[in-house]
């Protein structure tokens, strides 16, 4: 993956992540973790090589295919990116609202996912009235709303204390046990001991270690 400026962001990565995995993407800042995640939802297209996510070849995919892929992918952004002028309900409902669901159908679904993350009673609150951990749980609820087979999480515990971070990881692990593939970029290496998963380490855009790494023939 090469940016327009000529800088190479990712290079020589060859790996296969099966459905149902829990994968940590680790590496220093600028290692290419976020770039790799963005490529997985079609935010950036690889300039060379092949990347296939849920049967969609990102490099050659049409806009329609990218939209369809995004509808099947939950994204937890760095800094959670909640809309502060909207209620928790509206924030969580966003993915299915974008697919044209009406409010009557959305309400029970949103209540269900908020129950899963323990925030059902905050349905009509505004995000700024929630703690950092609660906001991150709202972001997780939003990502899981459409029951996607894949959740991409970019530093979901970045601004959280250890206990809250572990709680967020508990929720993601529970989702993973239900069959959802979780790919999570993180700096919090201590979480790997309490919540084990496959580790993919990047350094300056190059794959250093990865349990799912596939050797070239």
């Amino acid at each position: 993956m090469r940016y327009k400026t000529g800088k190479v962001a990712l290079s020589g990565i060859n790996m296969d992540i099966p459905q149902g995995s829990f994968v940590y993407l680790i590496g220093e800042s600028g290692a290419g973790k976020s770039t790799l995640l963005k490529m997985m939802y079609g935010g950036i297209r690889p300039t060379s090589g092949q990347l296939e996510v849920q049967g969609t070849t990102i490099r050659d995919a049409s806009e329609h295919q990218i939209r369809a892929l995004r509808q099947r992918t939950g994204i937890i952004f760095q800094g959670n990116r909640l809309l502060h002028s909207r209620t928790v309900f509206e924030n969580v409902a966003l993915p299915l609202r974008a697919q044209g669901w009406n409010a009557e159908r959305l309400l029970p679904r949103v209540e269900k996912v908020l129950s899963f993350v323990g925030l059902k009673d905050r349905l009509w609150s505004y995000p700024e009235t929630l703690s950092g951990g609660e906001q991150q749980r709202v972001a997780i609820a939003r990502a899981m709303l459409s029951n996607p087979p894949l959740i991409l999480a970019d530093e979901p515990t970045g601004n959280l204390d250890d206990d809250t971070a572990r709680h967020v990881l508990d929720i993601l692990s529970a989702l993973n046990k239900l069959g959802t593939t979780i790919i999570m970029a993180t700096h919090d290496l201590h979480l790997l001991t309490s919540h084990p998963g496959d580790v993919v380490q990047l350094h300056k855009g190059v794959l250093v270690t990865g349990r799912r790494q596939r050797r070239n023939p």
Partner: protein, 290 residues
């Protein structure tokens, strides 16, 4: 953080209509004033058309000959018929003259027959469409040469009709220019709203929303703004109609504000929709230029 202060309208289920804040209100006022100006132009044209009457559709000119010179009537009729642009010349019968006189006297029991005998004989001249530019001058010249007279009031009405035609073209031009200006005002307002809601638009795209779904609220907001401005402009028409009521009665016209209702509403919706389309033509979000 958004710098626009919104008054949010809540709908069942927690949804909100597109925020209607100070920028939209200002745009609504400006567009309403512009639509009001357009409405005034067309209201004035409506009055002008009523004043000119049916002349614009079928132009007739009457030529009068003194009854003691009636022997020249046939020659005059032929000479007028020979003028380029004259479609038909007809001698108005005495019965028609008497009937007109009775109508003019208003059935007061006066002797219309004897009154009508004092009226000159008249020729009714109908003109070809499109009208030849010199035809009225030619008729006047021929009439004067044979000692006849042409109805000057009718000539003035024809000239007024011509002026109205020119004014109508100018009105269309002004309407088009103002419509474009209104569309740009709506577009500029919606661009500001789009900037304030860029994050939401970006998120929706990242969650796989179709482009029409992302743009539709803004297009609806533009149309709504235009309809609101159109309705406001229509309401503002009425004081003008009422304040000029006496003047309208004096010159025999009756302006109707109702006639402008649908044009102003649909016109507003059109410029609002056009402005919204201009504003949403190219909404760029990061990570979407794939």
């Amino acid at each position: 953080m958004s710098v626009i202060h919104h008054s949010l309208m809540r709908l069942p289920g927690g949804w909100q209509l597109p925020p209607f804040g100070i920028h939209q209100v200002l745009a609504l006022v400006i567009v309403a004033v512009a639509l009001w100006s357009v409405g005034i132009i067309w209201l004035a044209l409506q009055g002008g058309e009523q004043w000119v009457g049916t002349w614009q559709d079928e132009i007739k000119v009457h030529v009068y000959v003194d009854r003691n010179q009636q022997e020249t009537m046939a020659t005059l009729q032929e000479n007028i018929m020979d003028i380029d642009g004259v479609d038909h010349v007809r001698l108005v019968s005495d019965e028609e003259t008497q009937a007109w006189m009775e109508k003019w006297l208003g059935g007061e029991g006066l002797d219309a027959v004897s009154f009508s005998q004092h009226l000159p004989a008249s020729l009714e001249v109908m003109l070809e469409e499109p009208r030849v530019a010199t035809v009225l001058d030619d008729i006047q010249d021929v009439a004067l040469a044979q000692g006849a007279e042409i109805n000057e009031d009718e000539l003035e009405l024809v000239e007024a009709g011509d002026v109205l035609g020119t004014i109508q073209n100018l009105a269309w031009f002004a309407t088009t220019i103002l419509a474009l200006a209104m569309a740009l005002i709506v577009s500029n307002t919606l661009r500001m709203i789009l900037l304030a809601r860029a994050e939401e638009v970006h998120l929706m795209r990242l969650m796989g929303a179709k482009e029409w779904f992302v743009r539709l609220p803004f297009v609806l907001e533009g149309v709504l703004l235009g309809v609101g401005a159109g309705f406001t402009a229509w309401l503002l028409m009425w004081p003008l109609v009422w304040f000029t009521y006496d003047w309208q009665s004096n010159i025999g016209i009756d302006l109707s504000g109702w006639m402008l209702f649908l044009p102003l509403i649909f016109g507003g919706a059109l410029v609002g929709g056009l402005g919204a389309l201009i504003a949403t033509t190219n909404i760029v979000s990061p990570e979407t230029d794939s």
